[in-house]
């Protein structure tokens, strides 16, 4: 079953007071996420990542398109939110509530019926090093701590679908590691994670499926490992009698064989480029001008 299905999602904003100009934030994006999958969503600033998430969650009005969670529309069934967790880009919290009060209220609103809710809250507060701040007012926390409160909440309610918008922002390395581990645990439990992030290495490490968005359009979608396959793990530039050649090979063994062959035939090795990462691919795609994708 598809956990999330998005079809031709479009969104425009209007800018200006008298002369209203249309800004196309999403130009018709479509993708599907299987249940139990960790889906990476990449894109540069202003590419439409947060707009996609806000439209998906019915927080802003979309121009057209369909967003389905478990084949149902959120607009028609608000109870679907019971199965959805959301960590926004900036931690928006009730500043005058205490950390524990906030976690308790939000979990109850998400219809958590567990009897051991208080122990569960304590466990996550401990995991994210917030146990000292349990009785502190949220307004007295730093931005990173607020982010950890929101993450604790979403991990403790264990939603069927967790939407994370830049979850690593403001976290220290230990915090990042904890989030990574918790995401993996959710996957093991069969939950779906939608991860929008700038930290490409984390996305590459966690996600089997990644989509790249640029200027409101999906420009690539697939498994990060496919990038290596389609481009080759190594790229070799060599010369035969002043004529230049290049070739891709998929592994080290093939590389050694090719290098030997070139040497035997009297060719000259110019350059051997190492495996292409998702980050290299992302940067290459972003550097291309419009229309080149």
């Amino acid at each position: 079953m598809k956990a999330i299905r998005i079809e031709n999602l479009k969104k425009t904003y209007k800018s200006g007071f008298f002369n209203k100009r249309k800004i196309f934030a999403l130009k018709g994006i479509s993708f599907e996420i299987e249940e139990g999958e960790i889906f990476g969503f990449l894109g540069p600033n202003g590419s439409g990542k947060t707009t996609t998430i806000l439209s998906m969650l019915n927080l802003i009005k979309k121009d057209s398109g369909k967003v389905l969670f478990f084949e149902k529309e959120l607009e028609k069934d608000y109870k679907l939110f019971k199965y959805i967790g959301y960590v926004p880009e900036d931690p928006y919290l009730y500043n005058n509530l205490k950390v524990f009060e906030f976690l308790y209220l939000s979990s109850k609103l998400s219809e958590i019926k567990e009897n051991n809710l208080k122990e569960k809250i304590d466990y996550y507060l401990d995991l994210f090093e917030l146990n000292q701040k349990k009785e502190a007012l949220i307004k007295n926390l730093s931005k990173g701590q607020k982010q950890r409160v929101l993450l604790s909440l979403n991990f403790l309610i264990e939603p069927k679908i967790l939407i994370l918008d830049e979850p690593f922002r403001g976290l220290d390395p230990l915090g990042i590691k904890n989030v990574r581990e918790e995401i993996k645990k959710l996957k093991e439990k069969g939950k779906t994670v939608f991860l929008s992030s700038h930290i490409i290495s984390e996305v590459e490490q966690l996600c089997k499926k990644v989509a790249i968005i640029k200027d409101g359009l999906l420009i690539w979608e697939g498994n990060p490992k496919e990038i290596t396959k389609s481009f080759g793990a190594f790229k070799i530039f060599y010369k035969f009698k002043e004529e230049r050649f290049e070739k891709n090979v998929n592994n080290q063994e093939e590389l050694i064989n090719l290098l030997n062959e070139i040497n035997l035939k009297g060719g000259e090795i110019v350059e051997v480029l190492k495996e292409k990462s998702l980050e290299d691919y992302f940067i290459e795609k972003m550097e291309k001008k419009d229309g080149e994708n």
């Binding site: 927080l59 608000y78 939110f81 928006y92 919290l93 500043n95 005058n96 009060e101 209220l105 609103l109």
Partner: protein
């Protein structure tokens, strides 16, 4: 129902701990100070004692009902905490109702405190009980229910504090301003008129708001124990509650339609 109870309770807590919440309870100490001073100043003037208590209570409570209700929704939109609520399995109507209950719980807490302070000092100074003030406390509360739902209606339409307050003040004050200006125009030269207008625009709006609202409240001096009074009073209560329900339903409807435009 459980979610409404839970949300109202935590909205109440969140507001009480905010600066606006603290300001309300600070006002109670001003109230106590007034009564303390009245021991020396107005020992024989029961009427004056009652009227001042009414004016103090009405002005503070009506201010809380207006600014507090406005703040309840606008700050949520401004600080984007509304995202938290809109991504939980809660109906829009539950959000509005629990916010309305929370602000009125705060008002009720303040009125109960005022009630005790008033009666303790009243009994201490005049050695008697003032039942007419109880009617006034009740009408102030009914009015605050109405005002808060009216403010909710406006803030769902204009969800920024500045705009909402401006609209509320402008709406209630404009009619009076126009009427007063028409009468005043002959008595001022042009410079006087302009300076007066500026003054009016800067400061008077706020003062126009409260006399307009205070018309909703039955003052202690107006209370009699006749049958006609009670019939009118019941009518007043029914009308007040009906208008409150109307504005509350209208707020829920507008919130449902406009919620997606709040997070632009």
């Amino acid at each position: 129902m459980e979610k409404i109870k839970l949300l109202s309770f935590y909205f109440y807590k969140n507001f009480i701990r905010s600066k606006s919440g603290k300001a309300i309870f600070f006002s109670i100490s001003v109230f106590i100070l007034f009564f303390f001073l009245s021991i020396f100043a107005i020992k024989e003037a029961e009427r004056e004692f009652l009227n001042t208590a009414y004016e103090l209570t009405a002005s503070v409570i009506l201010l809380v009902a207006t600014i507090g209700s406005c703040d309840f929704l606008c700050s949520e939109i401004k600080e984007k905490t509304i995202q938290l609520l809109l991504t939980k399995p809660i109906r829009e109507k539950d959000i509005i109702i629990s916010k309305w209950i929370a602000i009125n719980l705060i008002i009720l807490t303040a009125i109960i405190l005022y009630f005790f302070v008033f009666h303790i000092f009243g009994f201490f100074i005049f050695k008697r009980y003032f039942p007419s003030m109880d009617i006034t406390f009740l009408t102030i509360f009914i009015s605050s229910l109405l005002i808060s739902s009216f403010t909710f209606f406006l803030t769902t339409l204009f969800p920024t504090i500045a705009t909402a307050i401006f609209i509320i003040i402008f709406g209630t004050g404009l009619t009076k301003l126009i009427l007063n200006s028409l009468f005043d125009i002959k008595t001022y030269n042009i410079f006087g008129l302009i300076s007066k207008k500026i003054l009016i625009y800067l400061f008077y709006f706020l003062f126009y708001l409260f006399p307009s609202y205070s018309n909703l409240i039955i003052k202690p001096a107006e209370i009699s124990w006749s049958k006609t009074f009670w019939l009118n009073y019941v009518k007043y209560l029914i009308y007040g509650i009906l208008i409150t329900i109307f504005y509350l339903l209208a707020s829920i409807y507008i919130f449902k339609i406009k919620r997606k435009s709040y997070l632009k």
